[in-house]
Symmetry: C2
Subunit: 238 residues, 2 copies
């Protein structure tokens, strides 16, 4: 499946303007533009986004929702803090991905609430670009930090896929403490190469939430992914 | 192992004062006090905590750190939003669990930076009390939301255990949408029963980050938990 180059929303959550993350963001957005994409950079700290959900809605939330709806590709870039996104980005999701907008959108044909592969953001693809201080081997199936797809399960399956977006494998950059300029240049090239091929990349083949795969309690039927547990059980067999 | 009843810090992150969560918080704190604990309730929304990490430190962070150090039991209570804590609580962790305070505390005897079972919060136990709209079966090894310990791995292992706190199994309350007063009373009784026995409860037996279990890349030695991956690989065999 080759997706047309189109419009990308690049959501960025890092507090320091001179960070490695800022350099990667600029390199990534430049690469997409060079390839023919239009890019909207949402720098949440610089824009002063308020990530604290008190009540639903608000003019700022509507504006962020319009940015999301305009995008064919959504990139969330953040440093891994406590094995998750910074509060700034978590709160952007908490507030912007509202019920009735991002999920539980009623399907007028069936009356069912759309989610998991069929939410309000269906038709989009989503990529997490994440920097971590951990060594590469510590984020692995037997590493102390756990497997990358387990770590990102809440984001990949519980957020991207839940709202209908196709989840691309996370672009995880490890061992960033004390990296030098040559190392940064290499990381920027690697990210550019990934983005250059992103329109043709296959997403993680998560199963849709249909009666074919899930029972009424929303657990897998016994004959689906028999014997498997964890994230791997929720993928189409390759 | 029976821990003395002592002092509990109950960190609470929910925006609405009249919520189910507020009733459970009050019931839980009352039960602990009735059992002889002293309890400090940190109501992050009501106290106006600023969860956005811009620069490290700050007088408010020092105050939260003192609250943590005073506690024998740390309870984090929150509604499950996007399979993780609300931004308010994530940011409390982002800001308060600083390097040199909660982890990478230098051990003067060995010069090693203490973490994973031996961080700056060692000697404490931690419990997550979490409400979710999901049906119980959907948060299970083959449920669409994934297994409870996989979902909470970043918090249980990557935060509690990383900073030296013993992680108790999460107290997960599912199916809370539309619950009635009788249902709330039952949930409060269940939580009280759990808390009444908490001093004697066995924590999750995560492996310490020592040369006995982990290699230099901080992955498990081949002979440790052979054949296992995921969170189960990082526990002592039962």
């Amino acid at each position: 499946m080759d997706h047309e180059r189109g419009h990308a929303l690049w959501v960025y959550a890092h507090p320091r303007a001179e960070s490695l993350n800022a350099q990667l963001r600029d390199a990534g957005a430049a690469r997409l533009r060079a390839d023919g994409w239009t890019v909207d950079v949402a720098d949440l700290y610089a824009e002063g986004f308020d990530p604290i959900l008190v009540e639903e809605g608000g003019a700022d939330v509507r504006a962020e929702q319009r940015r999301l709806l305009a995008a064919d590709l959504v990139v969330l870039q953040f440093p891994l803090w406590w094995y998750g996104p910074p509060a700034m980005l978590k709160g952007w999701i908490d507030r912007v991905f509202e019920r009735g907008f991002a999920y539980d959108v009623a399907d007028p044909a069936t009356g069912r609430n759309r989610k998991y592969g069929d939410g309000g953001l269906a038709g989009r693809r989503a990529l997490a670009v994440v920097t971590a201080g951990d060594r590469a081997d510590s984020i692995s199936p037997r590493g102390i930090s756990g497997d990358v797809e387990d770590l990102f399960w809440p984001l990949l399956h519980g957020t991207f896929w839940y709202t209908g977006m196709e989840a691309l494998a996370p672009h995880l950059i490890t061992g960033v403490h004390g990296i030098d300029d040559a190392g940064i240049a290499r990381l920027a090239r690697d990210l550019g190469a990934r983005l250059g091929a992103i329109a043709a990349e296959e997403p993680i083949p998560y199963l849709p939430m249909t009666d074919e795969f899930y029972d009424h309690s929303i657990a897998l039927h016994p004959h689906v992914s028999s014997g498997l547990t964890g994230g791997a059980a929720h993928r189409r067999p390759s």
